[in-house]
Every structure is written in C-alpha cells, then in structure tokens.
C-alpha cells in the first residue's frame, strides 16, 4: 500500500501540479496565437518576470502576509499580475505592433519574440543573479502530510501549501476565463476577432482594444503560473526555458486557439511527463516475490530518466503535429 501512496504523491499530485502550471501557461499562449496568430516564444519569460516581480515585492514587504495568515507571495501576486500585464502590453506596443503594421510573416514575429525573450532573460538575470531564491522570505512554506488511515501505510500523502493555492487559482482562472469568454461583451468580441478579424472590424470591434486585453490576460496568467511554480520549487531565472516546450506542446495538443483545449492539453502533457518518469517497478514490488525466477525485475522501470523529462513533451508535440495537427479540439492550423 505504501507503493500506492508513492504513486499518488509522484504521479497524481505531481502530475496535477505540473499540469496546472502548463495549463495556465498554455491558455496564455493559445490566446495570443488565436488573436495575433504567431507563436509567442517570450511567454515563458513573462512567467519568470511575474515571479521576479513577486520576489521583489516580497523582499520589500516581507511581513505583509502575516497580517492575513496568507503567504506574502500570494498577497503580492495581484500586483505582480498587473505589472506583468503592463509589461506584456508594453512589449506588444514597442516590438510586435510595428512588425504587424508591416504585415510580416508570422515567423518574423517569432524571431521578434525570441529577441524579447533574450532581453527579458538578460534583464532578469542581471538584477536577480543566476542562482535560486526562495519566495518565502519571512514566512514558512507549509507542507501538509496526510496520513492515510489504512493499516500498513507508513508514508503520508504529501501536499504543499503553494500546490493547494495553485489548484485553487487554476480553477478560478479557468472558470473566470470561461465566464469572460462566454458571457461578457469583450470576451465575445475576442472570440469574434479570433474567428474572423475582418468581420470583427466591420462589426465595429476595436481590434487594438482586443489585442491589449489579450496581452493583459496572457500577462496576468503568466504571472500566476510563474509565481506558483517558484513558490513550490524555487525562483530561478532559467525556470522559463524548460517550460517553453511543454507549454507549446500543451497548447497545440489542445488545439491552437481553444482555451479549454489548452487547459486539457496542459494536464495531458503534465500527466504524460509524470507517468513517463515514474518508476513503475515500485508498483510491481509487492508482486515481485510471486514472480517466477527467470523474470528479474529491473530496479528502474521508468520510461525515461528524469534528466530526459523534456523528451516527453517534445515527443507529444511532434506526434500531434504529424498525426493530428489540429489537436484534440480541432483548433486552427493557421
């Protein structure tokens, strides 16, 4: 039974955590894809930026969370979201808008976003250094150990405080986005523009406003994902690069342009990763004794080693692009 708990910890919980991060990131990417029709490589660095903003704020006001009993990082999150949203809109105005005005091909916008990525990375590393820093400056990260009331089980189910916040925020974000897109005038205008930009213009929708709103949402979501990941692990300026590929894989799997697909895609990729690096021989341990002699169980039955974790989203990405480029929800292959 310990093995089962091991499975819960290392697959169910870990997969949900990874999946939520990817989901939030992928939603931002897919929204940008659907409105601006290019792959925004700088998204992962926007996530780092959001976390960095939280780090700065937490360093400046370390005691703010104690007053409410909530980690300071969470208290600072809304402000960081606003700052990241502002950054996103600013980047668009300075770098992407002129390119759009020139009518360039999407790949040129991708290169532009690469330039932005490098600039963001350079700036963040310049000010934050390259090492890891904790977002818990004055408070402690709570770790909850749930002992299961089943006999023989010695290992508790472990879940941390930031992970709980992550789940809650993911849910709130997804529901909020759904309501925004399906009920609000602006949200519907966004969907309209994603469907048919010319007709949207002809209906009087102000495309500049929609673009700005898209960046605000993308920036805000990026800040949430980046911050919570940094809270759970640690803040490192290069956390972004390893998120880029899985997030894009998630967005493409879910069907580019479909926010709900991106959420689903995020969890698909997240669970695929955790399932692939999980050492399945642990689960088979209880039955090891009943196996015939000639069948020797290797001690490591993981599909890929943890160092090769990145292969999983890449493999999924290529597989989807080759076999079903429109993704699960039949997005746009623009």
């Amino acid at each position: 039974m310990n093995e089962f708990v091991f499975f819960i910890n290392n697959v169910l919980i870990a997969g949900s955590v990874t999946g939520s991060i990817y989901a939030i990131g992928a939603v931002g990417v897919t929204l940008v894809f659907s409105i601006m029709r290019f792959a925004h490589f700088a998204h992962a660095d926007m996530m780092t930026f959001g976390a960095f903003m939280v780090l700065l704020l937490v360093t400046l006001f370390p005691g703010a969370g104690d007053a409410i009993g909530v980690p300071t990082a969470i208290v600072m999150l809304p402000l960081a979201m606003a700052l990241t949203a502002l950054l996103a809109v600013g980047i668009d105005k300075a770098f992407y808008k002129p390119l759009r005005a020139h009518g360039v091909k999407p790949i040129v916008m991708v290169i532009g976003s690469l330039g932005v990525t490098l600039m963001l990375q350079g700036l963040i590393r310049l000010f934050a250094g390259t090492g890891g820093q904790s977002l818990y400056v004055d408070d402690r990260k709570e770790i909850f150990r749930l002992a299961l009331p089943i006999e023989g089980v010695r290992v508790p189910v472990v879940i941390t405080e930031p992970q709980l916040y992550l789940f809650v925020l993911t849910l709130v974000a997804v529901v909020g986005l759904h309501l925004f897109l399906s009920r609000s005038r602006l949200g519907k205008a966004m969907r309209a523009m994603s469907d048919n930009p010319d007709l949207a213009k002809a209906s009087g929708i102000n495309t500049n406003t929609i673009v700005a709103v898209t960046w605000v949402i993308a920036g805000g979501l990026a800040a949430i994902a980046g911050t919570l990941l940094s809270m759970d692990v640690t803040f490192k300026p290069d956390l972004s690069f390893f998120l880029l590929l899985p997030i894009f894989a998630a967005a493409i799997v879910g069907g580019v342009g479909h926010p709900y697909g991106a959420v689903a895609g995020g969890f698909v990729v997240g669970f695929a990763e955790t399932l692939a690096v999980f050492n399945w021989s642990v689960l088979l341990r209880p039955i090891r004794d009943s196996l015939p002699d000639w069948l020797d169980l290797p001690s490591n039955l993981a599909l890929v080693g943890t160092e090769y974790k990145i292969v999983v989203p890449f493999f999924i990405l290529v597989a989807i692009l080759v076999w079903r480029p429109t993704g699960i929800f039949k997005g746009k292959v623009i």
């Binding site: 002129p98 990525t117 490098l118 990375q121 250094g129 390259t130 039955l301 292969v311």
Partner: protein, 439 residues
C-alpha cells in the same frame, strides 16, 4: 508580399561577383578591418587571434543557417544541437583510445545491446506494416504501440545496465585516436544524418512549429550528451582535444592559433567555393526557382520537398563541421557549455545582420557580431563596476556579489536588443523572398 510575379527574369542572376563598384561593401569591410585591428591593439595578438578563429568557426555555422533560412525559409532554432553533435564527433574521434575499455568484455556487451536496439526497431517497424498483411488499421496501431512499449522497456533496461557498467569500470568509452580532421568530417555527417531525420518529419510543418520542434531537438541532443557519461564523461568533460596543427605548448599561443586560423580559413574558402559552384549549377538554379516562385516550380514538376530536405541537411552538415572545428579549438568537450544563446541565437543574429542567403554578407556578419559579442564582456564588466562604485560612493549601495556573471547577462540583453532592433527597422528586408541581390 511578393514582388516578383511579373518578371522572374528581371534580376541579375550572374553569380557572386558584383559588376558595379561595391562601395558600400568595401566601406563595411574597411570598418571591420579597423575593428579587428583595434582589438589586436587593445587585447594583444594571442587573444585577438583566438577571437578570429572562433569567429571563423561561427562563420561556418552561420553559412549553414543562412542556407536554410535564406534559401529555403527554414527557421532552425536548434543550431545548438548540431553544433554539439559536431563537437562530440570531434572529441570521439580524436581523443586517445581507452585501452581498458577495449580490453574488457564491455565493447562486446555494448555492441550486443546496440544490436538488440536495432532488432527491436525493426520489429516495431515491421509491426507497423502489418496492415499490408490484412490486419485492420486500429489493431495494427495497438499492436505496434504495445510492442514498442514492451520492447523499449526491455531494451532500455539492458542499455542502462551496460552503460552503468561502463561508467563503473572504465569511466567512459574513450575515443578512437584518429586524426582530428576525421572527427570534423564525421561531425558534419552526423549532423547531416540527424538533420535528415528531423527534416523528414518536421519540414512540412508551419515555420513556428518547425522552430519549436528544432528548439526541442537541440535540448534533447544536449541532454543526451550531458547525461551519457559512458559516452562523453558528461559533466566531467573531456579535455584536452588534439589540434590538427602544433599546439600552444609547442609553438606558443599566437602562432598555433594563427595556424589553426589558416586551416579554418581554408575550410571556409572551400565551402564558399562549393556553394558558389552549386549555386550556379542546375541544382542551384532549381533552388532559386523554388524560392522565387514555389507554385510554378511545383507545377513544373520539381520535387520541392526533396530540395527543401537537401537544403536543410546541407545546412546541418555545415553546422556540424563548424561545431567540430570549434570544439577542437576550444580543446574541451563540455555538454553544459552549449547554450541556446551562444550557439543558436548568436548565429541567428549573424545571419540576420549579414543578410540571409547572402554568403559573403553572412561571413561578414559573423565576424562583426562575434567581435561585438566578445568585446561586450569586458565592456559590460567595466560599466557594471563603474556603476557599482558610483553607487557605493554616492548612495551607499552594497556591492552585489558575482558581478562578473551578472555582467555576462548584459550580453544576453544586448543580443536580444539587436534582434528586435534589426527586425524593427528592416523587417521585410530580412525575409528571404525579399533578397534582391544574389551572392
């Protein structure tokens, strides 16, 4: 959009030499020469010659990318991977033989596992063709996938065991002790083969997807090289790597580097000439026809996909060669030293600045950007130290630690800025279709 639909024969396609006096080109060349001279004066001959050799290696990389991007519009965001493969081949072929490894039973075991891998691959491949024997398609897929999973697990655990034994007993498989240039050639071939497989799968994708895919491939290659201690010593690195010319210990830094530079220059010249010949040959004309007007080329029956794949592979080969030459020069194979910034985006800037598809321009761009890149490190450090001192004196700021590594990050910012600025002010001029002069 396209400017060429009316007069495809309007442009002057006579080849590399420009008939009118190239005032602008000469001016830029003169400026570059002055910059190089400046570096020599400031940093000394040994340092500057080393910089030139590295710039020359990057020029080879840039030529590879300019072919892919400039002639075929393929945005390869995974240059780093091919560079690493080149370095790996250089190391593997030129580093001395590990007697202990070959004396033991390990080569046999390794060989056996490799045969298993091959066999498993063939079985899975055969299973995927079962539908030819009448098996319904979904069943075939299920069988293939299951078979692949099981065989994979079996083979991979064997593989892990053998490699662990190698690492335990002899540390790593060692090299082949062959002359360095063999490693360089194999580096190119290895990169080409990997490029072939990637291109086969990914070239049909939309440009941004190709970029993502190649980005991922490069990371996977790097992860493989970094974690296969049995093959590359991983993070423990392999050094020194032998040079094809007398090394610094024998003739001093400057002379040995100058010798290396002459070899590299010869390589570049050969590549340049071959490209020039190819460009004017029927193959080159076909490539240009496809680039200029893809639809009518397809209508005329030219196999576009095949040509595109050829270009991609050719570019990868060049990147492999450049990576090998660079790796040998650096004298060390360190998988962690391969960074997307240093080995992909830097090359991208070189190509963008020099003009995609313009071979001479690309070489120029490579040298120019590399000088900027190298000199920005001492410059950034100087500026940061100045700022820190001023801050300390006037505002009582604490001197941040690791000022040096932070200064290096300024380079990241500068390269990013370069990319965005160049794109901002000449976005359409950088698209391959818009190149009006041919080299």
């Amino acid at each position: 959009m396209n400017t060429n639909s009316n007069n495809p024969h309007r442009r002057d396609d006579t080849g590399a030499t420009v008939s009118t006096f190239p005032a602008r080109e000469l001016t830029l060349l003169a400026l570059l020469a002055m910059a190089v001279a400046g570096v020599y004066l400031a940093m000394g001959a040994a340092y500057s010659t080393r910089m030139l050799v590295e710039a020359a290696c990057y020029a080879i990389l840039a030529l590879g990318l300019t072919i892919q991007w400039g002639y075929a519009g393929q945005f390869n965001a995974g240059v780093m991977g091919f560079v690493a493969l080149g370095g790996f081949a250089a190391m593997s072929f030129s580093v001395p033989v590990n007697e202990a490894f070959w004396a033991s039973s390990l080569p046999g075991e390794l060989g056996l596992v490799l045969i298993y891998i091959l066999g498993a691959g063939l079985i899975v491949f055969a299973a995927s063709r079962l539908d030819r024997l009448g098996l319904p398609r979904t069943l075939r897929t299920v069988v293939t996938v299951l078979l692949a999973l099981v065989l994979y697990m079996v083979v991979i655990s064997q593989f892990r065991e053998v490699t662990e034994r190698i690492e335990d007993q002899v540390e790593f498989v060692g090299g082949l002790g062959l002359p360095t240039w063999t490693g360089w050639i194999v580096g190119g071939l290895l990169a080409g083969v990997i490029g072939y497989f990637i291109g086969h799968v990914c070239l049909g994708l939309r440009s941004d997807y190709l970029a993502i895919a190649t980005l991922g491939i490069a990371e996977i290659i790097k992860a493989f090289l970094k974690n296969s201690d049995w093959l590359t010593r991983g993070t423990a690195t392999v050094s020194p790597l032998p040079w094809p010319v007398p090394g610094p210990a024998e003739v001093g830094f400057t002379l040995s580097r100058a010798l290396y530079l002459s070899i590299t220059a010869v390589i570049i010249a050969v590549i340049f000439l071959l490209l020039h010949r190819a460009y004017n040959a029927p193959w080159g004309r076909m490539i240009r026809a496809i680039r200029d007007n893809e639809e009518s080329s397809a209508a005329m029956g030219k196999d576009i996909n095949r040509r595109r794949l050829e270009i991609f592979v050719l570019g990868c080969i060049l990147m492999g060669i450049g990576g090998a030459v660079l790796g040998s020069f650096n004298g060390i194979f360190d998988p962690q030293g391969y960074l997307p910034l240093n080995h992909t985006f830097l090359v991208l800037v070189m190509v963008i600045l020099g003009g995609p598809g313009n071979n001479l321009g690309t070489i120029f761009g490579a040298v120019a950007v590399y000088i900027i890149w190298i000199m920005s490190e001492p410059l950034a450090l100087y500026v940061m130290e100045l700022a820190a001192h001023v801050g300390q004196a006037n505002f009582d700021w604490e001197m941040p630690t690791n000022l040096e590594s932070r200064a290096l990050q300024a380079r990241v910012f500068v390269i990013g800025l370069l990319i965005t600025v160049v794109l901002r002010f000449a976005p359409k001029g950088l698209l391959p279709e818009k190149v009006k002069h041919h080299d």
